[in-house]
Symmetry: C2
Subunit: 329 residues, 2 copies
Amino acid sequence: MRIVISGFGTVGQGFAEVLSLRSDLLNAGGGVRIVAVFDSKSYAVDENGLDPIMLIERKNATGSVGTEKLSSGIEVLDSVGYDVLVEVSPTNIENGGDGLKNIEHALRNGKDVITVNKGPLALKFKELNKLAEKNNAILRFEGSVGGAMPIINLCSENLKGEKITSIRGIFNGTCNFILSRMDGGLPFEQALKEAQQLGYAESDPTYDIEGIDTACKVVILANSVFRRNVRFSDVSITGITSVSEDAIALAADQNMVIRLIGEVSDTVLEVSPRLIPKGHPLSISGTLNTAKILTDLAGPITISGKGAGRKETASAILSDLIAIMDRRR
Amino acid sequence: MRIVISGFGTVGQGFAEVLSLRSDLLNAGGGVRIVAVFDSKSYAVDENGLDPIMLIERKNATGSVGTEKLSSGIEVLDSVGYDVLVEVSPTNIENGGDGLKNIEHALRNGKDVITVNKGPLALKFKELNKLAEKNNAILRFEGSVGGAMPIINLCSENLKGEKITSIRGIFNGTCNFILSRMDGGLPFEQALKEAQQLGYAESDPTYDIEGIDTACKVVILANSVFRRNVRFSDVSITGITSVSEDAIALAADQNMVIRLIGEVSDTVLEVSPRLIPKGHPLSISGTLNTAKILTDLAGPITISGKGAGRKETASAILSDLIAIMDRRR
């Protein structure tokens, strides 16, 4: 299985590292090798396979994953024989950016695609799935929602026989960390600063705290699990910037906490801070993600796991890769 | 897909009901029909398909699922063409009983088997899997651990790329209900009586409260997820009969609860009441099952769901049936 990695930030490097850790597992499927990789500025190609650890070292030493100057990702894709594109470039929620173009190009050529890039999925879910189907390609995206928490494949494979009536969950660890710290009496600004110091929040935290990231995930769940045809602009979004210390204190008086909840069903598509009773599965503290899936036969199923992180997101990509290897065998 | 159902108690009836509810889904796979069914006394065969609702009505009206007197399940299996045996007769932990014989017979003939019968799995896991492999048959058993909580397939499929280092969980809803009621101040005997009145505990509750049921599940997890080769007799078992009101009160003083925990890893195989901090995922109250799965890449993943119930267990069987249909397509 010949892989191209597009994007070599935290997730791309994590995936390369995981590939090197799992050589035994991956060799069993006829061998997995990275035949090309590119970031925003550079690329490297080797039909015989690039050494994942060397790539990480070069990226860390020089800031570039490759030795050649990149003109476009599509040119790299066209220059090499490959089976799977792993698209992990930064999310662009405006127009999908180059990530979207690369995914479309790969699917159009019948190549399988694994992505955790929420932009293309939130903007063009239906189109991308049609393109995949038409070209007999597989498109998988477990890591795009919930990081290492396996919610997409849990719903679409293990629970395939269920009628899923709703999913409510915490899909952004940064917001949950901030709200958990506010439970302890910290004001919003201070909790945010702490999240930034610990590396949980970006220097520009808009994407997380305004609920945009959670909304992208809600769209992906709506389109994949509920087979709806919705876009990012369809989501009713309220972030956590307006959650005051007073509101947190009032909630605590009633034995409740405030959590940023994404909810999706056949009719609902919402992101908002909500009152959750302490002890409820959705009252968890810290950076974990969790989701409560309501089904008609199995009843409620709750899952939680690490929503982000280098190895954690890479593990979701690995699970998609193994599923593709199984299907293509 | 032609199905034989062996056993027509709560789970068998629940599965028949679910088949009738999901006719659309199941017709999509070329059609699913029940070509034979038997319980301990009777059987019915129809190559064109038996009506699931009629079977449930007959069982309720007459106590027998069939109109013919059963001499042996194997005779029924030999008399009809079928693809999948759904073995849901009562668990026999002494020697596996007729359930084990029927499973062996089906696998030997290259038929796929779905079972929730913990006896055969806890006693002969390795042998049954070898038999399946040798005869190119599929053996699935999602409902045998955790009911509707999809832990088996989650670990062996979604988390296939992970090194799972341990699983700790609550695998018996009856014990958890009793311990939860004891948290509220009820003595053991009274909590047990309440569980019996609500239908959560059998009139002879030994199997649950002595930890035997949990031990069977621990064995199944050890053999399937950890690929160990252990038997029921290898498990270190302590039930909940010795958990006193004093112990519960002492735990509460330290902000802890007592829960019956099954733990399995490469080296551990244990069932025992343990102190769990309140708020920990394993501190849940009521009849839910839950499991905390530790992995090397994804970190901890926690899942919970209904551990028992007619439709709930049937939903696990349905998920196995859909997986078999996908694989055989």
